[in-house]
Amino acid sequence: MTTKPKVSKAELAEQFRAFIDPDYVITDDETMKPYECDGMSMYCEMPLLVVLPETVEQVQRVMRICNENAVPVVARGAGTGLSAGAMPNKEGVVLSLAKFNRIVEIDPLARTARLQPGVRNLAISEEAAQYGLYYGPDPSSQIACTIGGNVAENSGGVHCLKYGLTVHNILSVEMVTAEGDVVTVGSDGLDGCGMDLLALMTGSEGLLGVVTEVKVKLLPKPEVAQVVMAGFDDVQKGGDAVGGIISHGIIPGGLEMMDGHAIIAADDFAQAGYPRDAKALLLCEVDGTEEEVHEHIAQAEEVFRKLGATSVRTSQSEEERALLWKGRKSAFPAVGRISPDYYCMDGTIPRREIAYVLTEMEKMSEEFGLRVANVFHAGDGNLHPLILFDANVPGEFERTEAFGSRILEMCVEVGGCITGEHGVGVEKIRQMAVQFNDEELQQFHDVKAAFDPAGILNPGKGVPALRFCQEYRSLEHKQHTHEHTEAAHG
């Protein structure tokens, strides 16, 4: 970790103001307030100061000054992250990339877009639409989140199973290193020479470098997309149907599942016509050419019926497709209406464990006295349990966190992982000790040091200090389940 900064706040601000518009070197508490947290608002910290550079050269100079003075740097996009990865360091600088918001170039023939890191995810597809193209990864925050943050978190979304994560959809990034050098990793070609530093950068949560430009791949917009909705009277059948579709050779564009609590909340909110008595609901979207979609939709309907669906409905128009998705897309705010607060978790499990994990979660829900609703990317086993709580009731958030930890540990026990797409940040840093042993964590620290010898980039996030891990693992019920996988629950 970093040593104590060698420079005062006033000195640092003065140095920055020599080359950055003084209005964008923010030092007063009131203006800095919006930067105190990201989308994970339970974790807050005020930074030393905030800078909003406008050029790559300014970013380089900021990094050089911070590196020389051992000042922590937390890079920030739109601040929509859900693991407190962009939470400021109280002795450090928040480096906002908000001014890097330009789409530099779209090349329709090559199907690529060159983007500054502050370009919003949805804006890429909006701009590319005129060429019949779009950008694949579509995290639920896509209206606000930025491509730089997507690279930092390796963001996914609803369409990952078929179209991949951020790591599969980028060609290169230009980044400023901790020492202030500008380097490009990746190229316009696929699979360049040597170590895959692009993969290493993707999902590194701002710990390895500051991304200043991203080149993404664009995809041709499918001719047709249709969605089949299937209701099931128990979660086991719903879970089996997920596998059923996939083993039938169909890779859906999106395959989402909701449990009984989420179905009712979402239907109340969106009036999507969901089967309100169902215990599990699947939304299976198939996209492609007209002929292909026609063929696959018929097969999907048949598979769901065979596997015991109590209701099957296929969208017959774009409006109907949008309506069926509306419930799913508004599921989080819908759940927000039935509870003062909710805590969104993010773990991944093998698909075959869906029913087991949901059943166990129901038991834990009773044990902790907290309701839980589940909305998730079933196609890739990425769970988003929403734990409902009231922050005004003393002790309830602590209980929520404990419940959340148990869910993540269960994910690891069944062969999954503690985060599918939200990242580790601060929020899940303790659970890293459940998924990895000390040697593995040390290897991560060594990788970090290769990029950032002084340890100034987002210190204290992503990878826990080893001394905290022993403590966490030794707590009761927290057996290290590393050599686990199949054996976990027979």
Partner: protein, 355 residues
């Protein structure tokens, strides 16, 4: 089928103690790649570390020991109607999955189906300290920790011994069909990219000897409807042709007298004007060149096309064979090497002279 990881670990520890180097070998079919191997180094044979550890067709996930031959994996997947979507080249019956990942080798479907690197979900790795580590996982999405698994792709074993790989597998397409027609090299790059920009089930596009080949694959109805709309003759032996391309057994690749260069460039870039023959694959992203020359003379052409060049086979392998790296990236890669293999045991000098 055997788990020899303990034995491999002991060999690494021994090498570390005695200050010896190790050349990592799987099936030994890719010895021609990279710089010349260090002749003083011992051999670490991963080829006997074989077997499928875990395979759940419903999960689309396979976990396999690194020394397992590709052919064995593909036979197992085929029983379930699945495949390795990245179409790994087999340079012989002994080609292994570990070597394929270390060399980051993928076949003609790569721009659409993804590369071996894209399909990797997790690995086990023996580092230079003899620690047997696990990274990533067996699930589709996993963002806990750095992506050490994919970092191995293309590192040619310089960071450690990959012992186990979990990867995504995919259903075999229900139908496929190849369209072929004559076309000049100057117009083909634009043509292939235009086709790739259409929302049609295209899964491969290459050009050689004045002919362009496009493969359509997926649901039968979609493949047939597209073939009717697009120009070109339906090729009788389409699958055979792509298999030849995948395994680099097409006659373009034959012989060792003329060096084989790999240009990894922007898909729409103009083909460099060089004395020699070209094979354009991946709808323009991968271009094979056969011609004499030196790396330093070819690099400007690759850079102008937005990419990199490497000497794939033949030629002088005592100098650098991979595109030159800028100083800042050299520094980072040296430090990464040091982080995984502090005593520089694994495949010394195989990737770069300075690594």
């Amino acid at each position: 089928m055997a788990d020899i990881s303990q034995q491999l670990k002991e060999q690494v520890l021994q090498a570390r103690e005695s200050g010896h180097k190790l050349n990592i070998v799987g099936g030994g079919t890719k010895a021609f790649m990279g710089r010349e191997a260090d002749t003083d180094a011992g051999t670490l044979n991963v080829g006997e570390h074989t077997g499928i550890v875990d395979y759940h067709p419903v999960e689309l996930v396979l976990t396999v020991r690194a020394g397992t031959p590709l052919s064995e994996i593909e036979a197992t997947l085929a029983e379930e109607g699945q495949c390795l979507h990245f179409e790994p080249p087999h340079f012989g019956a002994a080609s292994t999955i570990g070597g394929t990942l270390a060399c980051n080798l993928s076949g003609p479907g790569r721009p659409w189906a993804g590369s071996v690197r894209d399909q990797v979900l997790g690995i086990r790795l023996l580092n230079g300290k003899g620690e047997h580590l696990r990274f990533g996982g067996q699930v589709m999405k996993n963002v806990a920790g750095y992506d050490v698994s994919r970092l191995q792709a293309g590192a040619l074993g310089t960071l450690g011994v990959i012992t186990e790989i979990s990867m995504k597998v995919m259903p075999k397409p229900a139908a496929s069909l190849t369209l072929v027609q004559e076309m000049g090299m100057d117009e083909v790059v634009h043509y292939m990219n235009s086709r790739a920009a259409e929302p049609k089930p295209i899964t491969a596009a290459c050009w050689v000897d004045g002919k362009v080949y496009l493969r359509l694959a997926g649901a039968k109805s979609g493949v047939e409807a597209t073939a009717e709309k697009w120009s070109g003759e339906v090729m009788e032996e389409g699958d055979h042709f792509w298999r030849q391309v995948q395994d680099m057994r097409h006659e373009f690749f034959a012989g060792n007298d003329v060096p084989l260069w790999r240009f990894s460039v922007g898909s729409t870039a103009a083909t460099p004007k060089l004395e020699g023959n070209w094979f354009i694959d991946w709808a323009g992203s991968q271009r094979w060149f056969r011609g004499a020359g030196e790396l330093k003379d070819l690099e400007p052409a690759a850079r102008a096309a937005g990419g990199q060049v490497s000497l794939f086979r033949g030629g002088d392998r005592t100098g650098e064979v991979m595109h030159h790296q800028p100083e800042a990236l050299k520094g980072i890669q040296r430090r990464i090497k040091n982080a995984f293999d502090p005593d520089n045991i694994f495949n010394p000098g195989r990737l770069y002279s300075w690594l």
